[in-house]
Symmetry: C2
Subunit: 362 residues, 2 copies
Amino acid sequence: MLKENDRLKDILEGIKPVDQRWIEKARGRTAQLVMPSRALGRLHDISERLCGIQQTLKPSIGRKAILVMAGDHGIVDEGVSAYPQEVTGAMVQTFLAGGAGINAICRHVDADVWVVDMGIIPELDTIHIKGGESLLINKIGNGTANFARGPAMSREMAKKAIIAGFHQASVLFQNGIEILGTGDMGIGNTTPSAAIGALITGADLDAMVGRGTGVDDEGLVRKRDAIRRGIELNQPNRDDGMDVLSKIGGFEIGGIAGCILAGAFHGCPVVIDGFISTAGALIAYILSPKAADYMFAGHCSAEPGHRTMLNYLNLEPILDLGMRLGEGTGGALAMSIMEGAAQVFKEVLTFAEAGVAGKESK
Amino acid sequence: MLKENDRLKDILEGIKPVDQRWIEKARGRTAQLVMPSRALGRLHDISERLCGIQQTLKPSIGRKAILVMAGDHGIVDEGVSAYPQEVTGAMVQTFLAGGAGINAICRHVDADVWVVDMGIIPELDTIHIKGGESLLINKIGNGTANFARGPAMSREMAKKAIIAGFHQASVLFQNGIEILGTGDMGIGNTTPSAAIGALITGADLDAMVGRGTGVDDEGLVRKRDAIRRGIELNQPNRDDGMDVLSKIGGFEIGGIAGCILAGAFHGCPVVIDGFISTAGALIAYILSPKAADYMFAGHCSAEPGHRTMLNYLNLEPILDLGMRLGEGTGGALAMSIMEGAAQVFKEVLTFAEAGVAGKESK
């Protein structure tokens, strides 16, 4: 226990804000590119933030990876999901077979897929490798407890989940990954995510809770009711990220928070996917607000509360395509846009280099 | 003249609506993919439309190209642009040198860049090849006339512009390009585009006219005034695409309309870029409403009237990143999303193939 407390303290103390001077330098270069002022809009903001994070004027989106964090959720006992719980493990197998949405999109954007068992119910082989995708085991438990009836996990487990996510992401960064996307798999996990979102942002619970994988009207009522009871019963302290995670969170949500802290710690960009990943980002943000400097929001989910969560983090999503799959799909797809932004920044000539006249002065 | 009339008639008669049965078949496959119903949102719509256009369940975004149509505009005499007119030719040279925004983005998405001189003022070498980018010459004139004082071009020139664009795009399709994006370069060309947009959609002129490359408040007043006078003087018939193009259009806008008709004629998808490309799309649509079946809107421009034009065409933009450069940049970037959509459609396993349980039935 003491060791983990120390480790977390070291992590949080190791996170530095992004150096604004690099962002300013980058803005200076953007202003010289042979196009009207900031005519590529958000692409400039993205490339300049990358310059700030990487402390360079040659931003690079080289080797990419998605860490798909998987976990099961006791809250499914309340009838909050349209799918049976065994789908979590079955989808993990599908990721490893290369057959899911995240695999197809990662092949397209040339990103590695790593799947982490953060706490699903079934036991899978360690380091199962098939079709190039790898499984990492960091099982904190065989699914969380039902948070409508008590805390989802102990505070120690919450800490372990975050440190495990931090560790897995750190290994990838140390092995040359330059940008990491967070992904999730866990039947029922829009329920803890909505609970975290409502608690931390202070938004109305009903507006925060959507249909997830597609529950019907009665399921939606059960889901809202379960969250309301869970928050009332557990009384999570919204200023204490570890308390929130342990009482109403999930193992994969903790893992995602750890990934994001790792990006901030190592000075690398992290692309947050959708609703569940953003719940993890909120936990990371409560633990270290400076971590937000390293976050990119891959997309805006169709899940209604997602925009509110992103606004709280002051993040503007790159894509808005009505996606709501999770797995890291929105973040992976956005990496391709970020890579384009970096290439524009590095490759477009300046007005002077191109020999093109600038704006007419009066 | 007679020959060109016949040619255009053949083109328009050769355009068939997309076969809805293929789209239905594609929706059937989407429903089986191992994910909640349509959980990848717009990616499904994109891949299904590609299936319809290509008449296949193996949609392919293979070889890609952007045709950047360049032209000059007499309307700049009215003080409607922030940049001097010689920038058009200088930017064409920059495209050929591989140094502009469109070049960087096309390298990123692996698309060819073809630049067409549809009627810029300077004379450049024919088939100038440098850095892999090629210049095609289809000069209809050395810039249009000032449409605030008379028609921009004759009806014959308008027809020539459209047929030239059709021809250039057809050659690319015949040489194996599977998806084409439209691009534009022409100082002053948001002015004819706004005129076309306001006339065809019926939207308020002031709402349709934006700052283009960045005119100041007085420039904006001059721009709106010039368009108002041009429409009043020329009285273009909004139901006659050729009349609209000739009176208030531009050579590159005609070329873009021709490109889009070529996609529809050959059964290939065309990605429309921003404000100027969408003005071309409106001309193509007036000539053949069925052509809209083959159009994808790459992005929503920061130019305020663009959304209104896209709504008129019933097109939902893929990206919305505050871009307003033109050149084909938004369309090129969107191709990467479309390619991801096609890969998801082809590569994701079905529930049955993955052995994953579906939604719980009651």
